[in-house]
């Protein structure tokens, strides 16, 4: 209640300035008149009384100014005046103004860029559920503290794992060749183990996630597409599920569409997500490190 009242007064001081000033004028005049009356009552002539009263007040305009100060009006007015002054000065001196604005713009954009990076890398949480329990696992060897792993090592880790709720991998050698009506096209994407999205805590908004057997050599070749691709290549149609696309010369069935806000930094613009195949050439050699 009190704060509402204070706010009302402040706004009134700011926006109905004329009225506030008039009231101030009237208030001070009332005081002056009473003072004159008092002086007359004390036995002075009208002229003397008026003079004495004015002297005792010592500058009506000054008093008004002090009252405005107290209402916090002058602060705002002075700021506006300074602002106008600054604009005038800058217009008088365009070269200096341009240099100043340029330097300010440069400084501001540098700060924004740095903040943007820090915000994305350090401040914002990862866009996955339970992000505090997600870790990246690497292989280490003398001279190479963080190395990616081969498919066979990955399957061994997965089978022997007692530490993590789940281990999944994505291929570092991503990218597909997509056969389209107009010919073959390179499209961004990668292959992942079947539990990949489940481990990240991401559920497709349309269709389903990979089945556990879909990264085995005998499993059906299936593919999950990104939201953008669904919108752009498939016109956001519901019947996109079950359609067949030819990726790297192998027909694959589209089984799901990822949420719009899904983002996986190592494959930022990935359009197609296929599954790992133990039958692929690299996947059969323990020395072929291609997974993370």
């Amino acid at each position: 209640m009190r704060f509402a009242n204070i706010l009302r007064l402040r706004l009134r001081s700011l926006f109905s300035r004329n009225k506030v000033d008039q009231e101030l004028e009237e208030e001070l005049r009332y005081h002056l008149d009473r003072q004159i009356e008092a002086e007359i009552a004390a036995g002075r002539t009208r002229e003397q009384a008026r003079y004495a009263a004015l002297r005792s007040i010592d500058g009506v305009e000054q008093r008004k100014e002090e009252c405005r100060d107290m209402r916090g009006l002058n602060v705002i007015e002075n700021i506006l005046r300074d602002f106008r002054y600054a604009i005038r000065q800058l217009r008088k001196n365009p070269g200096f103004a341009c240099a100043t604005i340029f330097v300010l713009a440069l400084g501001t954009s540098a700060a924004v860029a740095i903040l943007g990076f820090v915000d994305a890398a350090l401040i914002k949480p990862l866009p996955y559920s339970d992000q505090s329990r997600l870790v990246a696992v690497f292989e280490s060897s003398p001279g190479n503290a963080r190395s990616i792993v081969s498919y066979l090592d990955f399957t061994d880790w997965k089978n022997l794992n007692k530490v993590f709720s789940s281990i999944d991998a994505f291929a570092m050698n991503g990218g597909f060749t997509l056969n389209t009506d107009t010919g073959a096209e390179k499209v961004p994407g990668t292959r992942v183990s079947s539990g990949f999205f489940h481990t990240l805590g991401v559920t497709p908004i349309l269709g389903r996630d990979f089945n556990p057997d879909e990264d085995s050599p005998t499993g059906a070749r299936t593919v999950i597409i990104s939201y953008t691709v669904w919108q752009r290549r498939f016109g956001a149609r519901q019947d996109v599920l079950g359609q067949t696309v030819t990726l790297n010369e192998a027909p694959s069935i589209i089984i799901g569409v990822l949420p719009r806000d899904f983002h996986f930094a190592p494959y930022g613009g990935a359009e197609f997500w296929g599954t790992l195949r133990s039958s692929d050439a690299c996947e059969q050699q323990r020395g072929c490190h291609n997974l993370m």
Partner: protein, 120 residues
Amino acid sequence: MLLSVTEERVFLSKPTDLIQGTLDLLILKTIALQPMHGWAIAQRIRQMSGEVLQVGQGALYPALHKLEQNGWIRSEWLVSDNNRRAKYYTLTKAGRKVLEQETAQWERLAAAISLIVRAV
């Protein structure tokens, strides 16, 4: 100087923090009984202080406007005793609380100062 003492009268003019605080207290106390306009407040302070304290306009009105902005007093235009419109100030609930605090504060301060001044 904030306090000018002439012929055993204390004239409150240019307020500094200490005197301003004291003047606030005097104003709050004066209007605690009934709504008053600025002129009457100055007169009442003069009478109550035994003609010693004279509140100049230059201190009174800024103080009133500040107290109003703080939400401690409220103003309204009423017809005064000489049949003219005058701005009357009333103590608000928050103002009453401040008055109590300031009174206690003043009593502590006055007691402390007199302890020092009267020490032999």
